[in-house]
Amino acid sequence: MAKREQMTKKVEVRAPFIRPHRKDIRIMSDVLVAAIPPLIWALYCFGARAGVIFSVSVVFAFFSEWLYDRFVCKKATADISSLITGALIGFSFPVSVPLWLPAFASVFAIAVSKKMFGGIGKNIFNPAVSGICVSYLLFGKYMTVFTKPFAYLPAFSVSVDKGLLDSLRVVTPLENLKFGKINISAISDYFYGITPGIIGGVSSALLVISFVYLVLRRKIRVSTTVSYLFTILVFTYFTAYADSEPIDFTMTQLFSGAVMLTGVFFINDYTTTPTYMTGKVIFGIVCGGMTVWLRYYGMTHYTEFFALAVSNMLVPLINKYTRPVVYGGKILKEQKRQRS
């Protein structure tokens, strides 16, 4: 560490001589702004309890980072990336979940998945994804209880009464798909968000607005999202097994679960996705293919997150083989070939 500081101090050439007007905080705050439309829909669709779950995960994420910095790293860092992690974790739970579960997921995501790997920029797994995956593995039975929309649950009770939950519980479109059943007339509802599901992922229409905002603000590139969604579209279209038109099957796959939430927010995380453009496209294809595969042969819900966690492990490999050739490198190689 001391050597690192020495080396960075040696560098004295300070160009660009421009007052800093772009900060990493700006990128993060833009992501938070993009999270507002799904949040508003969640409050409208699932009531105040959605807001409480969201707040709990954000607050716990922020304070676990602050405490870790204070007592383990013993230095203050100033960034708001933990707020994004908290917000995304809050988005990924159904509204019926007990309030201690998002808190646990946030603390795990920040303390274990991010900080123990060395902090921002050094983590292998997306912190939010790892928090959700671990929560699902440990407390899966709480996370697969989906209630119907516009049935408001008590906002501040830590865990919802089991009788109430049983009365409000409905079957999700993904569970129907397992048995080859498709409700064709409800596909537009899936798109607009009148469907049971996780808090932030139900309204695909509003997530598209968030995506357009992030692209216009030049915070993310279109490539990963498009390759991810396109892969799912193509795979499901040609392997549709339900007794209806393949396009209805594909649309149900795309607009249910957390596909759009993953495609807009999770898959565009800087740290845990490949650095180079070709790699980003390959990453989208791998992640999309894995999602469909898991949906067909594996679990029903939360497949996107597990697919993303597996794809994260492949990032160093993808980076290695998609490295750009240095300017003029191809010509030099050709010349060498001709000589030999």
């Binding site: 080396m7 660009p16 772009r22 990128i27 921002i120």
Partner: protein, 475 residues
């Protein structure tokens, strides 16, 4: 769609000094001349030098000339300081070419360019070596009117003021080097500048205009060729080896003007700008003028720091004096940057025109793995500064790469004049009158009156209609 290359950064909304008038910077006080380490001084401390007196030379007998007359104050390796006596006594360099261009051969043409000490206005490399090594190979001449640094506007203003001379220079180079095709590269926003060159009478070849993008660093010769001809030239090769001779408009003008006057390059066109400048504008400064003198033309705000080079590609070089390849003096005010941890956004990779991975080079530099960096293309960096500009965490990627490149070579990175000169200036303040006593100096009467009274402002006023210069029109 404009011709362009991969990578680079698009900049909007920067004011520039295009079409602002040129002012001539005062040249009193000490002037310092810098050269790379392979140059050895050929004057001694206390010598009296005139305009066109060689101060330093390399093994190929390429000289760095004095642009003023006066006494040599200090001689160091790679740096000679001269105190201006204000008399502009001129020495004879070579016979000015006043007759027809057919009267000189190609060898003498290149010899004259070498004698005049002309270097590229941006690259700083000697022009004669390009012409000498590239003869026979060069098929096309690319004249660059592109400048992409924010605030910069002097090249286009120069091209606007001296269009007739630049056209004659292009004709001269094309005729002497036997080039039949020439491309004038303009920025896509500067179509009005291109109109001035459209009606020129190029009898000895075809000349076309190319409109390239405004991206930084479009002005680099290699990328200009890549944009116009879609030809990727690796860093191990030079452009002339592949048949492209890239010269900036100012270099072409210098070639023409030096042959016409029989003297070295004295003046350099500069932009003076920045948030520490009271006004922005263009300056003609004698090569070797201190930055303070240049800054005094337009004035600086308090706490302003003068930096050579632009906003993005600026460099803190040894010695704050105008060099033959200084293109901008930036008055910037100090501010602190707080580098943060890399968030692996990959913006530096996308911005790099040379397709290297700056953050990887930085990480390897920090951990001290120089050899790994060389494998990953460390020496392919053209130091354009795009990576540092786009970095959201303010990591000084460019500084680290430059430091790692120059690790084996000892190059002090200070913007102060060498210590010896500083002390000399201090000690000479009291004995100033003695030093300027001309009677004690060796007498010299070989004044070139035409050059002595040469004033660029008058020159611009006189020559805007373009009647000057008949020496290179071939029959």
């Amino acid at each position: 769609m404009a011709l362009t290359f991969g990578g680079g950064i698009s900049l909007f909304d920067y004011k520039n000094t295009y079409k602002k008038p040129f002012k001539v910077a005062p040249s009193d006080g000490v002037l310092s001349y810098f050269a790379p380490s392979e140059f050895t001084p050929c004057v001694y401390k206390g010598d009296f030098v005139k305009i066109n007196t060689p101060l330093m030379k390399n093994s190929d007998s390429f000289n760095v000339y004095s642009t003023v007359s006066g006494r040599v104050l200090s001689v160091e390796n790679g740096c000679v300081s001269v105190e201006n006596d204000g008399l502009d006594t001129t020495a004879h360099l070579f016979e000015p070419v006043t007759s027809d261009a057919n009267s000189i051969t190609r060898e003498t043409f290149i010899e004259y360019i070498k004698l005049a000490g002309i270097v590229g206005a941006y690259s700083g490399t000697p022009v004669y070596s390009k012409l000498e090594k590239g003869f026979g190979k060069i098929k096309r001449l690319v004249v660059s009117f592109v400048e992409t640094e924010p605030y910069s506007g002097h090249t286009r203003t120069f091209a606007h003021c001296f269009s007739s001379d630049i056209i004659l220079g292009i004709k001269l180079v094309m005729f002497m080097m036997g080039i039949e095709k020439c491309v004038l590269a303009f920025s896509k926003k500067n179509k009005e500048l291109a109109f001035e060159y459209e009606n020129a009478d190029f009898t000895n070849g075809t000349v076309t205009n190319a409109f390239v993008s405004d991206k930084h660093p479009q002005g680099v010769g290699r990328l200009l060729v890549a944009s116009i001809y879609d030809a990727e030239i690796p860093l191990t090769q030079e452009c002339y080896e592949r048949g492209y001779l890239v010269l900036s408009a100012e270099t072409v003008y210098n070639i023409y003007n030096c042959l016409k006057n029989g003297s070295c390059v004295r003046y350099k066109a500069l932009s003076f700008a920045g948030d520490g400048a009271r006004a922005m504008g263009n300056v003609f400064a004698l090569i070797g003028t201190s930055f303070q003198n240049v800054a005094s033309v337009y004035g600086t705000r308090p706490n302003a720091k003068l930096v050579s080079g632009g906003l993005i590609g600026g460099k803190i070089e040894r010695g704050a004096f105008v060099r033959p390849n200084s293109n901008m003096i930036l008055a910037t005010r100090y501010f602190e940057k707080h580098p943060q941890e890399c968030i692996k956004c990959g913006k530096c990779v996308n911005a790099c025109p040379m397709r290297i991975v700056p953050i990887e080079l930085y990480e390897n530099f920090v951990s001290g793995e120089h050899n790994k960096n060389v494998e990953n293309g460390l020496y392919n960096c053209i130091e354009c500064g795009c990576c540092s500009y786009v970095c959201p965490s303010f990591i000084d990627l460019r500084g680290a790469i430059i430091f790692d490149k120059n690790r084996d070579v000892e190059k002090p990175d200070t913007d102060l004049p060498p210590k010896q000169i500083e002390s000399e200036i201090k000690t000479n303040v009291d004995t100033n009158t003695k030093l300027l006593n001309i009677d004690a100096l060796p007498n010299d009467n070989s004044k070139n009156t035409s050059f002595n009274s040469f004033n660029f402002e008058d020159y611009i006023a006189e020559n805007t209609d373009g009647k000057e210069g008949t020496d290179d029109k071939e029959s």
